[in-house]
């Protein structure tokens, strides 16, 4: 009995499966490639593409706190106008762009944060990468230590600097206050929080810069330095004529990655202080959403994406120019 039973089960189970496998074997290469893409398309379609389009659609509507889903009637790009011109400022938790209050308007805060943090990270990351590219005793552990901050969860990174700048306990607070760098309540003052968030970001993300630049350094042919040694180029000349031009593409890639990520900053702010004190662009989306103004939140989200897109295209133009220059 059991054998026949099993045979029936096997036939039921096996047949469709082997039929499918057979179909797959008979596909041509193009059909097979599309089939391989299907799972990715499904995942990205539901989790990324659809939300993106839905957000955009939302951003073309007005807020309506009482309507179903919180979305009012279709208004086209009116929301964009209102937010960019400042007319909508009264309805938002913080203005999107206002030069009169650079530390509490989203665009200025985000740009300040991005430019300062990424600039410092590039310099430090380059230095770290140069060290990690040397071979010396104990390099393995120095490498582990220097890469480590990159692997620290954002919330823990935030907690570390929250604790370091907590007035009652942090050792750093008093000296920095006396130097006038931070205020007496550093965790609730916009300029001070910006300073602290930049420090926190530099600590963690220099390591990421170092990783990418190190990858660039390691792909440089070591024999080029022997050529330099034989002709008597000094270490500085070798850096100038060999290392720097050859690692530049990797540095630009690292810069691109970091700039995009920095413009999305959210978690550090939420952990160290709050989105009201330092309203970065991502912060402003979340706090507007929390007010129930879904359409406005969607609009700010898309403006954020557009601004990052502009920055991205500047880099891409730069890459294209370098390509033509033969680099």
């Amino acid at each position: 009995m059991s054998t026949t039973n099993r045979a029936i089960w096997r036939r039921l189970y096996d047949k469709p499966l082997s039929a499918i496998l057979n179909r797959i074997e008979r596909l041509n290469d193009v059909q097979f490639a599309y089939l391989l893409l299907l799972p990715s398309v499904l995942l990205l379609g539901t989790m990324a593409l659809w939300p993106l389009l839905a957000t955009f659609e939302m951003s073309l509507h007005a807020d309506d706190l009482f309507a179903a889903g919180g979305i009012g009637q279709f208004v086209g790009f009116k929301q964009y106008m209102g937010i960019l011109s400042g007319q909508a400022d009264d309805l938002l938790p913080r203005p999107f762009f206002d030069l009169n209050q650079p530390f509490t308007s989203a665009l200025t805060v985000t740009l300040l944060f991005t430019v300062i943090a990424v600039a410092i990270e590039t310099v430090l990351g380059f230095g770290q990468a140069l060290i990690l590219n040397k071979s010396f005793r104990g390099r393995r552990w120095v490498r582990v230590a220097l890469i480590f901050p990159w692997a620290v969860p954002i919330v823990i990174q935030g907690m570390i600097f929250l604790l370091m700048f907590q007035p009652s306990i942090g050792f750093a607070v008093e000296p920095l206050q006396q130097l006038g760098v931070i205020s007496s309540a550093p965790l609730s003052d916009s300029a001070s929080v910006l300073f602290i968030v930049i420090i926190a970001d530099v600590w963690k993300e220099s390591a990421f810069m170092a990783l990418l630049i190190l990858a660039g350094l390691q792909s440089i042919d070591r024999d080029l330095y022997k050529v330099g040694d034989v002709v008597g180029a000094s270490k500085w000349q070798q850096f100038k004529t060999i290392t720097f031009p050859l690692v530049l593409p990797a540095v630009l890639v690292a810069l691109l990655f970091r700039t995009i990520a920095a413009m999305k900053v959210y978690g550090q702010v939420e952990t160290i202080s709050n989105c009201n004190t330092l309203p970065t662009m991502s912060c402003l989306v979340v706090s507007t959403f929390n007010m129930g103004r879904y359409a406005s939140a969607a609009t700010i989200a898309f403006i954020t994406a557009a601004i990052i897109g502009v920055v991205l295209s500047v880099y891409i133009v730069q890459f294209a120019r370098m390509d033509r220059g033969g680099l």
């Binding site: 797959i24 290469d29 193009v30 391989l36 893409l37 799972p39 990715s40 995942l43 990205l44 989790m47 990324a48 659809w50 939300p51 993106l52 839905a54 957000t55 889903g69 230095g127 770290q128 060290i131 393995r140 490498r143 582990v144 230590a145 220097l146 480590f148 901050p149 692997a151 620290v152 969860p153 954002i154 919330v155 823990i156 907690m159 570390i160 604790l163 907590q166 009652s168 306990i169 050792f171 600590w203 390591a207 990783l211 990418l212 990858a215 660039g216 270490k235 413009m263 999305k264 959210y266 978690g267 952990t271 662009m281 991502s282 979340v286 959403f289 879904y294 939140a297 700010i300 994406a305």
Partner: protein, 287 residues
């Protein structure tokens, strides 16, 4: 005379190395000081602990089920990593070893997705996961406060780069190996998983490690897609916030929990640092 520039470089090198090491590791030292100092003595700390109270590392688990938050984080990251490796391998294989109409356009489209900030996906996904989206009268499953609400968006956001890297790795494998495997009786999909993936094992391992680190460390969806209860898949983000939002803030416990929360990452970096660096070298820059 000739030796002098050599030794100047060497001294400079050691000074710089020391400087970077101190910067990288000091925060962890600072956490340790805080964690070891008894709660009531944490005021105006210097650079040494004020007292010795290792009990904080146990108290962490008594006050808040921090171990459950840790477990959630690890499980969520594992799920995302598995999804990314499976789905990403199939797509990376297609992009890396097949030529089909629209290949470049689709790859660019996939990469463009990774540039959009999380906030542009958030509102619809939130509505989707809270059952507020209906398709043909069927409302969406309520994934809010479940593993899917965090791991699915995270998989989708790490997927594009994984696809790009895996495509590069798979492209580097000599042509014709799948054909050989198929002649030997393997199926097409079987050839991918039994021949191509093992051959690029170092690359695949790098992607796995990096995906795990990125998803374990993520903040946005980890914070906003669950309410914060340990039994509802909340990860360490919420675990740590519970110490902060308690009636009395125990700084020593925040420090202790932070140290505990970072241990898995420290182990991963120590074990896999070589893979991470070499994987990035061969994956990102050999186009």
């Amino acid at each position: 005379m000739i030796q002098r520039p050599q030794s100047v470089y060497r001294i400079l090198f050691y000074v710089a190395t020391g400087f970077f090491l101190v910067i990288a590791l000091f925060p962890i030292y600072w956490l340790t000081i805080l964690a070891l100092t008894p709660s009531e003595q944490i005021t105006n700390l210097g650079l040494l602990p004020n007292g010795f109270n290792p009990g904080a590392f146990i108290r962490v688990f008594e006050l808040v089920p921090f171990h459950l938050y840790m477990l959630n984080s690890i499980l969520l990251a594992t799920m995302a990593t598995i999804i990314v490796l499976l789905v990403g391998s199939l797509a990376g294989y297609a992009f890396g070893r097949f030529d089909f109409p629209g290949r470049t356009v689709i790859l660019l489209g996939v990469l463009v997705i990774s540039y959009f900030p999380s906030v542009t996906f958030f509102i619809p996904l939130f509505q989707l996961f809270t059952g507020n989206v209906s398709v043909l009268g069927v409302s969406s499953p309520e994934l809010f406060n479940t593993a899917g609400a965090v791991s699915l968006p995270l998989s989708a956001l790490t997927l594009p780069l994984a696809i790009y890297f895996l495509a590069t790795f798979y492209r580097q494998i000599p042509d014709g190996l799948e054909d050989a495997a198929r002649v030997e009786g393997s199926t097409r999909i079987g050839a991918l998983f039994k021949v191509i993936m093992p051959l690029s094992a170092p690359g695949v391992a790098t992607i796995a490690v990096v995906t795990f680190i990125i998803t374990y460390n993520e903040f946005f969806f980890s914070y906003l897609m669950v309410e914060g209860m340990a039994n509802q898949w909340a990860p360490i983000v919420h675990g740590l916030f519970r110490f902060q939002n308690a009636r009395h803030v125990f700084y020593n416990l925040i420090a202790a929990a932070s140290i505990i929360g970072v241990i898995p990452m420290a182990i991963l970096v120590a074990v896999a640092q070589n893979k991470i660096v070499s994987g990035l070298t061969s994956g990102a820059l050999k186009e």
